[in-house]
Assembly symmetry: C2
């Protein structure tokens, strides 16, 4: 099949998808519901009401196949969407592979990643329900900066609790949030009771993502005009991200291609789900038959080494229980550079399709990922964020296998963000200072011991 002569496969703004795709409508069985941590009964909309606006609570549970994207959200999506689909011809040549590699590039968004695909609708729905302030947590800052950008579009306040160690070591993501008008606090902070209690014990407390979540939630429930926003894991987040896959489907169709293999990196699961779910719909409908592969870091192998259990979404155990692949909510991944993949659990929807056998998973250590990223940067030009280096490494593995077999497979992957604010990771790799982490079964077993046993 002839490939396009164009390197970038374009969609016009008028061809942009106007609905998000809800894979729940097409699955052979529904995913297990979230449970209230006290009653262990399925959580009700009222349980979520202090944290999320009604529109998002409805999206979290909807069984409708398509959800219309509001016009006001499309107006903002158009600032960077449709995002380009690239044929990686120069990488293919460098690898000497007969495979054709395509990548959907989300680094063109204002924040440089796929996160604004959901931060914008989340801000929109909150704004529409009269909410004037959003609270959230952020680790290295990708999600916080995306939410700061989105709230700026609707004139809302945005308050971000940033893990203290990152706040002090990574001032640039913090500044990016402030450029967009957000109020950024080092966590633990003196703005919440929980934060003050921790600072009283240790004024130099380095913080953690779990603590930052607790502070953002505490600040949210204390203010009736505020709600809380989450950047991955939940159904409505993955729903919003399906705009990635819907566009990629249209773009590949323009050049007459269907993927044989789709690979995406998985942390919380939103980037992977966003690309993969529309292709899964086509696969379940018998229209194509791609192998769909999750790629996770060897240091945090949720799908490949975790258990499929009910567990908490946060470290402190405040959230509803979700059935997902987990390494235990107390599991603290080693400090790999792909901060966005350092999550103990997996989106319940991704876990569910994995259990159903609709996707497979592999884990790759970070040095192989950065080696692939360097080859990608030197051929395709784009410097990847640490998270998608995993997807690139997996695509390169597949392309090199094709070189052995001579197969002309079509490989599709997601380049979910650029690495302009992650160059310190490349500095370590180039300087020979990057290490791979061996994950012991004991560490997982220890963390799993705290996971509640649900009958």
């Amino acid at each position: 099949m002839a490939a396009t002569p164009e390197h970038k496969i374009h969609l016009s703004e008028s061809e942009m998808p106007t609905t998000w795709y809800n894979i729940v409508a097409d699955l052979p069985e529904p995913p297990p519901p979230p449970l209230h941590p006290g009653t262990l009964e399925p959580a009700t909309p009222d349980d979520f009401a202090p944290l999320f606006p009604m529109a998002l609570i409805e999206q979290e549970a909807t069984t409708e196949r398509y959800v219309e994207i509001p016009g006001e959200v499309l107006d903002i999506y158009r600032i960077w969407r449709p995002s380009p689909l690239f044929r990686a011809t120069r990488l293919e040549q460098a690898l000497g592979t007969p495979a054709r590699i395509y990548y959907k590039y989300e680094g063109v968004s204002p924040a440089g990643s796929h996160k604004p695909n959901t931060s914008v609708p989340q801000a929109y729905y909150n704004h529409a329900e009269g909410i004037t302030r959003l609270t959230t947590e952020t680790g290295a800052g990708q999600w916080g900066s995306s939410l700061a950008y989105a709230t700026a579009q609707y004139g809302m306040e945005c308050e971000v609790w940033m893990v203290g160690a990152s706040y002090r070591q990574k001032p640039y993501r913090r500044t990016m949030m402030q450029v967009w008008g957000a109020d950024v606090h080092s966590s633990p902070s003196d703005r919440t009771e929980y934060g003050r209690s921790l600072l009283a014990e240790d004024p130099d407390h380095p913080g953690s993502l779990g603590i930052a979540i607790s502070e953002a939630v505490e600040a949210c429930v204390a203010d009736p005009n505020a709600r809380y926003a989450l950047g991955s894991v939940l159904n409505h987040v993955l729903l919003h991200q399906t705009v990635i896959g819907e566009e990629a489907l249209l773009q590949l169709a323009k050049v007459g291609e269907t993927p044989d293999v789709l690979v995406g990196c998985t942390g919380g699961g939103s980037n992977f789900g966003g690309l993969a779910f529309p292709f899964l719909r086509e696969k379940m409908a018998g229209k194509m038959n791609p192998t769909i592969r999750c790629v996770e870091p060897a240091a945090c192998p949720t799908l490949t080494k975790g258990e499929y259990r009910y567990d908490f979404g946060d470290t402190a155990g405040m959230t509803p229980l979700m059935k997902m692949h987990t390494l235990g909510h107390g599991f603290v991944p080693e400090p790999i550079h792909a901060g966005g993949l350092r999550y103990h659990g997996m989106a319940p929807l991704v876990s569910h399709i994995y259990e159903l056998g609709l996707a497979e998973a592999i884990a790759i250590p970070q040095r192989e990922c950065f080696a692939g990223a360097l080859q990608f940067a030197r051929t395709e030009g784009i410097v990847p964020a640490p998270e998608p280096t995993h997807a690139i490494a997996a695509a390169i593995r597949e392309a090199l296998a094709c070189k052995e077999t001579g197969e002309e497979k079509v490989i599709l992957t997601a380049m979910c963000g650029h690495g302009h604010l992650d160059l310190s990771a490349y500095e370590k790799y180039l300087g020979g200072e990057m290490v791979d982490f061996e994950l012991s079964d004991d560490a997982i077993a220890a963390a799993m011991a705290d996971v509640p046993v649900i009958a």
Copy 2:
């Protein structure tokens, strides 16, 4: 006139210009030639041969109206070109202006600025003549990273002398160059005789752009397989950048618009010339009549306060003499954040058209620029590099004037790069630590005293 319903005005790759535009062919009189600093006679091709490949030396002096872009260069341009032209509708709304603001965005290139438009053809022509290594200098790293990217595309070596103070303070641009395979030295370095002589005097010498140029030139002339590359000022550099303006012309035509005002920031002049020259061609042909305005930093007001004189391009006085607006080759601009605009001179071609009355110029202090950049980031989403904040501030001035008069002017500007690696400048602005610099006439007079007097 109705504006497009699309926020981004698209060109397909097949619509990309295939020639660069040489404004010399259309000017009412030719620009004064460069002079050999010893003989004061017009410099000959042989004078440039140790530094540049013959193809670029020919382009430097050509009077042909159009120069064909080689297919191998177009292949690489297609990685990010055509670049998008955006209608800044959200900024317009925030300003409440009846003006229509368009900006051509060059931050989509791998290095995040317009510089690869010339680094790629420069690497190509050198490679075609058998050159295997390019040397250059860089200040904050924009140019060095663009050349590193370009040489990676042709498998060439790239050696960059980076101003020592920046090398130590700004590791991320340095890492970006290394990701693309460049060899980066802190300047002064022990790799050149000149560098060693300076280090012998002061082992902690902070370096300067002038010193880094001297080292790159010394290393180049010592190796017959090496040539030197410059990122702005010269005719062939501006020629390559005209791809920006040619695309913008086609994009505006698609929505039936012609600019009433064109504003671009000027440091060495390549970004401004690249956007403006194709529009100047149309203006000289009587097809449109835009006001064309250069915007320079108040701390380095080359056009508005400099003299039109023959002067050296570098601080050490090693280059041919060029007739240009200059503040004196010994002038050291204050450390404003727009490092790319801290140049004592101006591209001879830009100086020439300014003298001919074909363009006007204004100077803006940096705090007004960053105020405009913040408003731009919060509405349009893109965080601008410090250099184009000047163009944005000028566009906002013009749009606010239209609000007063009710004029529906079409304003076109160049957003020549993103600010992801310049967030420390925003940190200073947001923290109230940014200052504007008053430039004294005495400082200019002192630097001008060293400028040679040519009869």
